[in-house]
Structure formats: structure tokens, C-alpha cells
Symmetry: C2
Subunit: 237 residues, 2 copies
């Protein structure tokens, strides 16, 4: 790997690793993210860590407080609801675009992702949340619009974080079935149905998840980040 590619890879990889760790609840909402410690973990200087944290802050996954450092964002319940509502509006557009672009190959991609979701169904909930989020991101990719992809990705990950924080156990269980129905409507070229199903799906996810204001889980140690950081240090992923 050329030095340039390696170094570009590192910053992106650190951001991506942290994003996954946040989505998978290894880094919990409210948890402090000290630059020095992260730098040591990933085997880089604080410069790259600060850059990665800046990016994640721009995405709403991390909060930066002057002189107090970075911590994993803790969205309020209102914020969570607004994010889902906003997402519902955006996914309308995505569906319209995907229907226009639909080919058997694209359909196969969606089916393959759904199979991954089914396979992970009984594994662990954070992984399920991440895969469910990635279903939507795949849809946005298939829309062919970089703009839609950017916002679906960002808002999708932020919704994922709120689910991490607020979701009741098993509140994501029916998501796979709903994804399947959406795929079916897409394959039938039925835009109206697909849009309705998507709207219903997102509303249902939010309704199932956001009834509680109780925050969940203890604050874990940065040690749990080790597998993610090792991948980056090894140049993998």
C-alpha cells in the first residue's frame, strides 16, 4: 500500500471505526473520548484523532465541548423524534429514485443485504441495528444521488445512535419483515406502495423504540475499543 493511500486510509478508517463502535454501543452515549488515549489505541498522533472527532461531530455522533473534550453524543428524546420524522421525509425521495433506477442486479443487492439481516437476527441487537441502518444506506446508494446518500447516511447513523440509547429490547424485531415488504413493492415497481411501506416502517421503528425516556446501559471502558483500533493499526478493514 502506497504511503499516500495508507495515510488517507488511516483517517477514514479511524472515523469509520469510531462510528461503528458508537453504533454498536461499544462506545456508549455520554462516554468521554480522550484524544491521547484514542491516539495511543489507534497508533496515531492526536492530530488524526482530532480530525476524526471533528468529522464525527459534524455528523452528530460526537459532541465537542470547548476545553472539555469529546464525548459520544446523547441525543434527547425530542431530537430522536425529529430525526426520525426528518428521515421519513427524505426516504420518500429515496424510494422515488430507486424505483426509477431499479434493475434485477439492484434488487439482488437488496435481497443479499436482507439475507445478512436475517442471519444476524438472533446474534446481537447492536449488530442488528447497524445492519438495519445499512439497509437504508444501501437504498440511498441505489438511488444514484450522492446528495441523498450523504443525508440518509448521516441521519440514519444518528437514528441508530438514538436507538442505541432509547430502544426497548426487541423493539427492532419486526424491521426485517418490513424491509422485505419494501423490497417486494420495489420489485413490483409500485412506488405508491413502497413509499407508504417506508413511511410506516420508519414511523413504526420510532414508535416502538421511543416510548421510554429511560437511558440504558453503563459507561464502558475504552478497552472495549481495542478490536476496532487494532484493525486500524493493522491497516485492515
Amino acid at each position: 500500500m502506497k504511503a499516500a493511500d495508507k495515510a488517507k486510509h488511516r483517517t477514514d478508517m479511524i472515523s469509520s471505526a469510531l462510528r461503528s463502535a458508537i453504533l454498536e454501543r461499544v462506545l456508549m452515549p455520554g462516554m468521554k473520548l480522550p484524544e491521547d488515549s484514542l491516539g495511543e489505541r489507534f497508533g496515531v498522533s492526536r492530530t488524526l484523532i482530532r480530525q476524526s472527532l471533528e468529522r464525527l461531530a459534524a455528523e452528530g455522533l460526537v459532541e465537542l465541548r470547548r476545553n472539555k473534550g469529546a464525548m459520544v453524543a446523547k441525543p434527547s428524546l425530542e431530537e430522536a423524534r425529529d430525526l426520525f420524522e426528518l428521515r421519513t421525509q427524505i426516504e420518500d425521495l429515496v424510494i422515488s429514485r430507486v424505483i426509477k433506477n431499479m434493475t434485477p442486479e439492484l434488487l439482488a443487492e437488496l435481497e443479499a443485504h436482507l439475507a445478512k439481516e436475517v442471519e444476524a437476527e438472533h446474534a446481537s441487537e447492536p449488530i442488528s441495528i447497524r445492519l438495519a441502518t445499512e439497509f437504508h444506506i444501501l437504498l440511498a446508494k441505489l438511488s444514484g444521488s450522492p446528495v441523498l446518500l450523504r443525508y440518509v447516511e448521516e441521519i440514519g447513523y444518528r437514528c441508530g445512535l438514538t436507538l442505541s440509547l432509547y430502544a426497548r429490547p426487541h423493539s427492532t424485531d419486526c424491521g426485517i419483515q418490513e424491509h422485505r415488504q419494501i423490497i417486494e413493492a420495489l420489485s413490483n415497481g409500485d412506488e405508491e406502495a413502497a413509499r407508504k411501506l417506508m413511511r410506516h416502517h420508519l414511523t413504526a421503528v420510532a414508535d416502538r423504540a421511543l416510548f421510554t425516556t429511560e437511558e440504558r446501559g453503563p459507561l464502558l471502558y475504552l478497552d472495549a475499543l481495542e478490536p476496532y483500533a487494532r484493525k486500524v493499526r493493522d491497516g485492515g478493514a
Copy 2:
């Protein structure tokens, strides 16, 4: 001003200054933004410049290319259209929220902003574009939702950039009248009408502006940034 407040102010101020300069076409799409030069202009080291550029890149106003530096973003026509379409979806939500929150004081704020737009109508087009964008940002503020504000702001500024790039002369002329109509519907508490007017307004702005693929204007020198940079160096706002 305490040292902490001053330093925080600086990074935010640099970002804000650059954003305004981009929106007002002082910094044109495609223009290179060398870190050293900007640092000298603003009287800070490259560290703060890099941070500001990272933020503006996250907002889509600046493109960062590895080893090639930063330049003002040059959105494609497709991207421009997608942004306006996305914005239309989001502003629907904003209108619903603002109607719920509406008070005489909020209405007065909107009217005051409209008066500013009227006053600037024959001044210069870039200022008009900026004020028109800020009308929408004010609406989003009045929605009371930080989430909606964040995305209206970002997408609004990005739409402003595309107008800078693609808009035909006078293509923003009818915008003030349309803003006035929206304010009227809001003051009447007529959500349906307000939403329709907003949709129509944004579609009309895009239609008026985006018919041409011809890019406009010469690349200007960084010297034009001086008034913006001076404000930051002087600690003003």
C-alpha cells in the same frame, strides 16, 4: 473578552467568515483555499484554518482533496436539483412546526427579516441570495427544533452556493413576494396553504435558477477576502 471566549470565537468566526464569503461569491466555486494564505489573512496558524475547512467540508461548501488542498465546492447541476428537492421535503416539516409555535413576536421577527430583504433588493444579488437563505434559516429557528435548524441551515447554504454558481441574473427577483405570501399564510394559521406556498416557492426558485449549465464569473483573488478576515482578526463579528 476572556482568552477562552476569544479562542472559541476565532474558530467559529473563521468558519462563519468563510461561509459568508462563499455565499456572497467573494470566494467563487472552484477557487483554491490555501491553508498558509488563509492563516496569514486571518492572523492564525494553519491549525485553525484546517479545522475551519474541515467543518465547511462537512457542510458541503468546501471540497477537500487529499494532497491537493481545499477549494470552494462546485456542485453539479444534478446535485443542485437534488438539494432543492430535499429541501422541499424538509421545509414541509418546518412549516408544520412553525405554525404550531406561532406567536405575534415570531411573526414580527419574520416581518423584520422581510423588510431587510426588501431593503437589499436592489443592492447586490449575492446579498439578496444570502438574505433569502437566512429567511429560511430564521423559519427553522422558529420551529424550535435544533435538528431541523441544523439541516435547513446546511442545505440552505448549499442551495445558496448552487444559486451563486448557476442562477441567471434576476432569477431571485420574485422570492421576496413569495416570502411575503408564506408569512401571510403563517399568520393566518393556514398550514395547508403555507406548505403549498413553500413548496411552490422552492420549486420556483430552483426552476428559475437551474435552467442553465453555464458556470458564471471569473476566479477572484484571495485579496477579496480581506474585509471578512479583518473582522476576525479584529475580534469583531
